[in-house]
């Protein structure tokens, strides 16, 4: 066991410790806070890289460090951490993206009063996320999972003066909680069936063959319950509603949590407990995996459709995240675990880049977020434009130089060969088009055309903000080197097989299909929107071209398919009614019972008081009166008359005399 595997716990511990340290600083010590946070992140990055290098030793490397947390009775509760390619890759991505975002935040949050608190929370989140990744026990993972949720809540509601932010934070927490309920039930069931919560434990872990064998048929249900947690955290349908609202938080928060890392935790979870999902697979298909695929594909398509009709720059990106996460879930579901994780890593880089770019735009436009009020920023904010363009092309899936393209192609490839059904594949193809479409729409609205802004002083952001953008853009490009099918190093690394360089693999049918689809998407986008924001024939300037063409459809999409309202009418209404019923019960039934018992006590008190007053007091009073009377009588014998006394003495003497006489 090398030093790094034994001390892997340092990677999450250092940022968390630093966050506590920052909390103890005064509000005025901004530089120290930022400095500490960045240093913590750098340490975490260095350690992550060390861990990564460690895993390069052999294909399929896995190092585990378990220990007993506490014992109760005969059973022990063991936890630990694991270092394998999956964990190492995630560690590096999270640490690197985190570092870029921390540096960006120094500039973005420079005007904010609660600067130090922000960095404390950011550090805390970073530590918790890193903890999720290295956990070897489902329980430890859940602990960090919840901590990540807490950090997300704190950061979404960071601007505490804003009621909308507080409401969004609450919504995020409650929605993910619903998912976490299922997750926890899954943990309990797993513990009950297999007796261990450790993933890998010298053959006894729950993900290893012996453990899995103990589960039998319940593996499917456990997997589905755990998937509930992933649905909540990764914003899959039907628990996706919190993610767009989470954009109320500051943009760096959106970048870190809701693009690159926390939402990725759900995908990571599925990848981590994949043996549970794939237990008893026939041709790589199990019921739980099928559910994952269908939910993923639904999410991917639905979110992409909604994204087309959104006007807020961050909402478009939020729905895009939801859509991409759906895509990753699909990939995991059809068996392309490595492909899904690769897309996750690439997505982390370019989504963070996009969000930071959006942050830069917002900052430059003095906190304007409506894309219809922007335009022509290409000339005013060149660095931002260039890096944003890189991100957009990576997301759309433009192949060759941009990482997103390769990974998307891999996923499409996997779905094409899914034995269960080909419908996901076709739907994902449509999704690719839509992705390219909405990104093109966004970039045209924001950066091209004439400036529609009410302001005139849009300016480029300071270098503290643009440097991370450049770094992330470079990552997005350079990352593709290890992603190409020509040299599927990462695929091999993640999958546990060695990889060779083979340029012929570059040319595949799927490559051309995706290239065409992306081109189609961009083409349609340019066609539709190149005159957006400007009067074109009969369309007024402010109306979106799509809206003009299909107003009903547009409105449906713009209002997020009315899902929030549906939830409001059903789930929330039900909760409100049950709350009212409970309140009534509490107020009249339980309270009444308690009051009845209380009045019983009161009655008893009244009874006792009566007994005391009438019985005991009266008795005592009578005794006292009697004694007084007796005393009065006796004292009346003292008449003060000497002769009386004398007479009594004489009688007494006589009595004595007679007594003596009688005795003697």
């Amino acid at each position: 066991m090398s030093w790094i595997t034994i001390n892997l716990w340092l990677i999450p511990a250092v940022p968390v410790a630093i966050s506590l340290g920052i909390l103890s600083l005064a509000k005025s010590r901004r530089k120290s806070a930022a400095g500490l946070a960045v240093i913590g992140q750098v340490i975490a990055l260095v350690l992550s890289i060390a861990a990564f290098l460690e895993t390069l030793q052999a294909p399929g490397f896995r190092a585990v460090q378990n220990f007993t947390w506490f014992t109760f009775g005969d059973t022990e509760l063991r936890i630990g951490w694991v270092l394998d390619p999956l964990a190492a890759a995630m560690l590096v991505m999270i640490a690197l993206v985190g570092l870029c975002i921390f540096i960006f935040s120094v500039g973005y949050m420079a005007d904010d009063k609660n600067f130090t608190r922000f960095f404390a929370y950011l550090s805390f989140f970073s530590g918790a996320m890193l903890g999720v990744v290295i956990a070897n026990s489902l329980l430890l993972l859940f602990v960090f999972w919840e901590l990540v949720g807490l950090a997300s809540y704190l950061l979404i509601g960071f601007w505490i003066g804003r009621p909308s932010a507080a409401a969004a934070a609450k919504k995020a927490f409650i929605t993910t909680r619903i998912g976490d309920m299922g997750f926890f039930l899954g943990i309990l069931w797993l513990y009950h069936s297999s007796g261990t919560l450790l993933f890998y434990d010298d053959g006894n872990g729950c993900l290893e063959s012996a453990g899995l064998a103990m589960l039998g048929a319940s593996a499917t249900f456990i997997a589905l319950l755990i998937f509930c947690g992933a649905i909540g955290k990764s914003g899959q349908f039907p628990l996706h509603v919190w993610l767009p609202d989470a954009m109320e938080g500051p943009t760096p928060v959106s970048a870190l949590i809701h693009a690159a890392t926390m939402v990725a935790a759900g995908v990571f979870l599925v990848a981590r407990v994949y043996p549970l999902f794939s237990f008893g697979a026939i041709h790589g298909v199990t019921p739980s995996l099928t559910v994952v695929v269908w939910i993923g594909v639904t999410t991917a398509l639905m979110a992409a459709l909604i994204a087309i009709a959104q006007a807020d720059i961050k909402r478009i990106l939020a729905y895009s995240t939801v859509s991409q996460l759906g895509l990753m879930m699909v990939s995991l579901g059809v068996g392309g675990v490595a492909a899904g994780i690769m897309h996750l890593l690439a997505h982390g880089f370019f989504k963070a880049l996009l969000f930071l770019g959006a942050g830069s735009v917002i900052h430059g436009c003095h906190h304007e977020q409506d894309i219809r009020k922007m335009g022509g920023l290409r000339r005013l904010m060149p660095v931002t434009f260039l890096t944003y363009a890189v991100g957009m092309m990576a997301l759309s899936g433009v192949p060759l130089f941009f990482s997103g393209g390769w990974t998307k192609e891999e996923i499409l490839h996997s779905t094409a060969h899914w034995p269960k059904s080909h419908v996901p594949h076709y739907l994902l193809l449509a999704g690719v088009v839509l992705t390219a479409l909405y990104m093109t729409r966004q970039i045209i609205y924001v950066f091209f055309g004439k400036s529609r802004a009410a302001f005139e002083h849009a300016h480029e952001s300071p270098s503290v903000m643009t440097t991370p953008l450049v770094v992330l853009a470079l990552c997005a490009i350079v990352f593709s080197v290890v992603l190409t099918p020509a040299w599927p190093w990462l695929h091999g690394y993640l999958g546990g097989e060695p990889a060779q360089f083979d340029i012929t693999r570059l040319i595949q049918p799927m490559f051309f299909v995706s290239l065409m689809l992306v081109a189609a998407g961009i083409g349609i986008g340019v066609l539709l929107y190149h005159r957006a924001g400007v009067q074109d024939r009969n369309r007024p300037a402010e109306t979106d071209p799509l809206e003009y063409m299909q107003p009903g459809l547009f409105r449906f999409l713009e209002n997020k398919m009315w899902l929030d309202e549906l939830y409001d009418r059903t789930v929330i209404a039900f909760a409100a009614i049950s709350a009212r019923v409970s309140d009534w019960m509490d107020r009249y039934v339980w309270d009444g019972l308690v009051r009845a018992l209380g009045s019983l006590g009161q009655l008893f008190g009244i009874f006792t008081r009566d007994v005391d007053e009438r019985g005991i007091n009266a008795g005592v009073d009578e005794t006292m009166t009697g004694t007084r009377g007796l005393g009065r009588v006796i004292s009346s014998w003292h008449s003060g008359q000497i002769q009386t006394y004398l007479g009594v003495v004489a009688i007494g003497m006589l009595a004595l005399l007679l007594l003596y006489a009688w005795l003697v």
């Binding site: 004292s635 009346s636 003292h638 008449s639 003060g640 008359q641 002769q643 004398l646 004489a650």
Partner: protein, 104 residues
């Protein structure tokens, strides 16, 4: 010829009772003193009678007691009468029924 001891004792008892009568039944304070003196005298008589009829009359024990008793009686009479005068000064009366400050 002297009578038996019993007769003397009966006489002394009678005298004692007369003294008691005087002390108990008269309302004047002085009468109580008179009664007391009489009782004392009766007791003296008792002593002398017993001494006379005792087996060893040459020991003048009874006589001694009687002498001392007389002396003490005199002293007590003096003090008692002084008391009566003092009380008379305070209450302007010698009716013992009115000396009831100790009542109650």
């Amino acid at each position: 010829m002297t009578p038996t001891l019993q007769i003397f004792l009966i006489v002394s008892a009678a005298l004692f009772c007369v003294g008691l009568l005087a002390a108990l039944s008269r309302r004047h304070a002085i009468f109580i003193l008179i009664g007391i003196e009489m009782m004392l005298a009766a007791a003296n008589l008792n002593f002398i009678a017993f001494w006379r009829f005792s087996p060893e009359p040459h020991q003048p024990t009874g006589v001694m007691v009687a002498i001392f008793s007389i002396a003490i009686a005199a002293a007590e009479a003096a003090v008692g009468l002084a008391l009566v005068i003092s009380v008379y000064r305070h209450y302007r009366t010698t009716n013992v029924d009115q000396f009831d400050q100790l009542k109650g």
